[in-house]
């Protein structure tokens, strides 16, 4: 079985974001980068599926500048077999349609049986690339899975709906699944596996060679949200913060008896 996992490298969401010079996206200097949280579940599910089947190949693909290879190395250390880096220093200017088109251009001839993506990225959060990739490749897609099983040639997944409800769905392969938080427990790469990952193949392709489509959406600007104001911010010494909060709770709420 050939398995594709699409991952994105994103900044740590606890970062203090500055805007880039054009005011169209965040400034990507001085940020701590990591694998998109949702994609960790995608990588783990691919590794579990390969472990269950006893054979198969897992390819991890990522679009972006050279730094995204760090996230790819983590996927390789978690158990992916090889990596394909679609190099693009201006990937933040591409829209979901283009990102999906570029990955599809690479994946079309590879004939993957199963593709896993995260259900969305933590920075853009469009939740489109997976479904669009499947559409480009003419295969089925099921989004937001929190359970995956492959038995007797049948793939059955649980989709998460609102309020805790789930839909149990059976899908023929080839298919793409977008992974939701909690699908599994992503493993931590062990030191020996980190060392092994360094020797795994990591091929670089150029975005310009893969992408023919133009963008369907464009960003006018990126800015900070308007503050709704109101909220009080308590900083400083913990003992003072406690005293201040006690006073506020006594004045503003009826919970302290």
């Amino acid at each position: 079985m050939k398995i594709l996992v699409c991952i994105k490298q994103v900044p740590d969401m606890e970062s203090r974001f500055k805007l880039n010079a054009e005011g169209t996206w965040y400034n990507d200097q001085d940020l701590a980068w990591r694998m998109n949280e949702y994609d960790e579940y995608a990588v783990e599910q691919a590794v579990q599926l390969r472990e269950q089947l006893g054979d198969g190949e897992i390819v991890v693909v990522s679009v972006g500048p050279d730094r995204v290879k760090e996230a790819m190395k983590k996927a390789l250390a978690m158990g992916a077999d090889r990596g394909v880096h679609i190099k693009d220093d201006a990937s933040h200017e591409k829209d979901p349609f283009q990102i999906a088109a570029a990955i599809a251009a690479y994946a079309a001839d590879e004939k993957f049986d199963v593709t896993f993506t995260g259900m969305q990225s933590q920075d853009r959060g469009s939740a489109q690339v997976g479904v669009l990739l499947a559409a480009h490749l003419g295969m089925q897609a099921v989004t937001t899975i929190i359970e995956f099983s492959h038995e007797g040639g049948m793939t059955t997944v649980h989709r998460e709906l609102e309020g805790g409800l789930k839909a149990v769905v059976r899908v023929p392969l080839p298919a793409l699944f977008s992974c939701q938080l909690g699908l599994n427990t992503p493993r931590y790469p062990t030191l020996p596996n980190i060392m092994k990952a360094k020797k795994k193949e990591l091929l670089t392709l150029q975005m310009a060679d893969l992408l023919k489509a133009s963008a369907l959406t464009t960003t006018d600007e990126t800015r900070y949200p308007e503050k709704r104001g109101g909220g009080l911010v308590l900083e400083g010494d913990v003992a003072d913060q406690v005293s201040q909060l006690m006073t506020i709770l006594k004045e503003k709420t009826a919970v302290l008896k």
Binding site: P11, M13, E14, F17, Y26, P96, F97, Q120, D123, G125, S126, A127, Q128, V131, A135, Q140, V142, T143, T144, T156, R159, L161, E162, G163, G164, L165, K166, A167, V168, V169, V171, P172, L181, T185, A215, L216, T217, T219, D220, E221, T222, R223, Y224, P225, K227, G231, L232, V233, L234, E235, V238, V242, L245, I248, L249, K252, T253, A254, V255, K257
Partner: protein, 304 residues
């Protein structure tokens, strides 16, 4: 301008969130036409044209068939915009339609300005203003971002669509979430633990504060996913909805899906090391502190 509004039905019942698409159409001053794969027995209160396909035939989750039905309506109506909710139904179906139409999609719209859409980025720390370049645009709306000023009224003029049971994806069953356990929705005080607690042992600090305040403890999703708290304690769009007199968010960033479950709280206190954490947007008081120091100190003062 004409808008196709994609309403949603679940287990035979129209989802009330469907009206948010109507509120959006009002905001952008578009002529609304509704689309629903649902049931005659649960129609939206809407005085316009409604294309209805029978969910008993098509299935409530059957993306290929829902896409085909929608394309039929789009061909008939030639809308400029097709509006979904950013929900498990909407984010699954919208990109399929966008692809089929060659249209750009803008996801999780929270506002619009001069023909462009405003969407959140980076866990709501940023806003992006996005524009679609073609003649047709597909959008999904953030849950709760648009609401009608008045109660919806009227009955639709129904145009029945003929549905089939085609499609390769086979819906087998619904499975209910875990039941039982604590009912946070009735608690007057909820103290919730987020990923910021760092390790499961620190949940005890949150529990201790909840106890000192005479309330219950809750959790954000990562704490539940990690198995540190049971699912019935999860607050948010895929967990419980709470409306206590006091909500204390400990080490919770304030993702939109978490806010969906606690924004009706009367008074919100957040404890977070990140002064910019989006929870600050809804907090009456944001205590910028390490919860490992602050929580025991507060609990000690309350118990003194």
């Amino acid at each position: 301008m004409k808008a196709i509004l994609v309403a949603e039905s679940r287990q035979g019942t129209l989802l009330p969130g469907s009206y948010e698409t109507l509120a959006f159409a009002e905001k952008i001053v578009a002529e609304p036409v509704m689309f629903l794969v649902g049931s005659q027995a649960s129609l939206p209160a809407f005085p316009g044209r409604l294309y209805l396909a029978d969910a008993d035939v098509a299935g409530e989750y059957n993306p290929e068939e829902h896409l085909r039905l929608l394309q039929e309506v789009v061909a008939k109506e030639a809308p400029q915009i097709i509006v979904f909710l950013h929900s498990s139904y909407g984010w699954d179906l919208a990109p399929r339609l966008a692809f089929a139409l060659g249209a750009g999609q803008v996801s999780e719209v929270v506002d619009c300005q001069e023909g462009a859409m405003v969407v959140p980025a980076c866990n709501s720390k940023l806003r992006r203003v996005v524009r679609s370049s073609g003649d047709v645009t597909v959008v999904t709306l953030q849950a709760g971002a648009f609401s009608l000023a008045n109660e919806p009224g009227g009955s639709p003029q129904v145009e029945l669509l003929e549905s089939r049971h085609d499609g390769q994806v086979e819906f087998l069953a619904y499975e209910a979430g875990e039941l039982g356990g604590v009912d946070l929705s009735k608690a007057e005080i909820v103290v919730s633990a987020g990923r910021g607690i760092g390790k499961p042992e620190n949940l005890a600090m949150v529990e201790a504060l909840a106890k000192a305040l005479g309330g219950e403890y809750g959790a954000s999703r990562p704490v539940v996913d990690a198995g540190w708290a049971e699912h019935t304690r999860q607050v948010g769009s895929t967990g419980q909805t709470v409306s206590p007199k006091l909500y204390v968010a400990c080490g919770i960033s304030g993702a939109i899906q978490h806010l969906a479950g606690m924004k009706k709280s009367e008074f919100v206190v957040a404890i977070n090391t990140d002064r910019d954490a989006p929870i600050g947007e809804v907090a009456d008081v944001l205590v910028v502190a390490d919860l490992k120091q602050f929580l025991p100190a507060l609990t000690a003062r309350l118990s003194a």
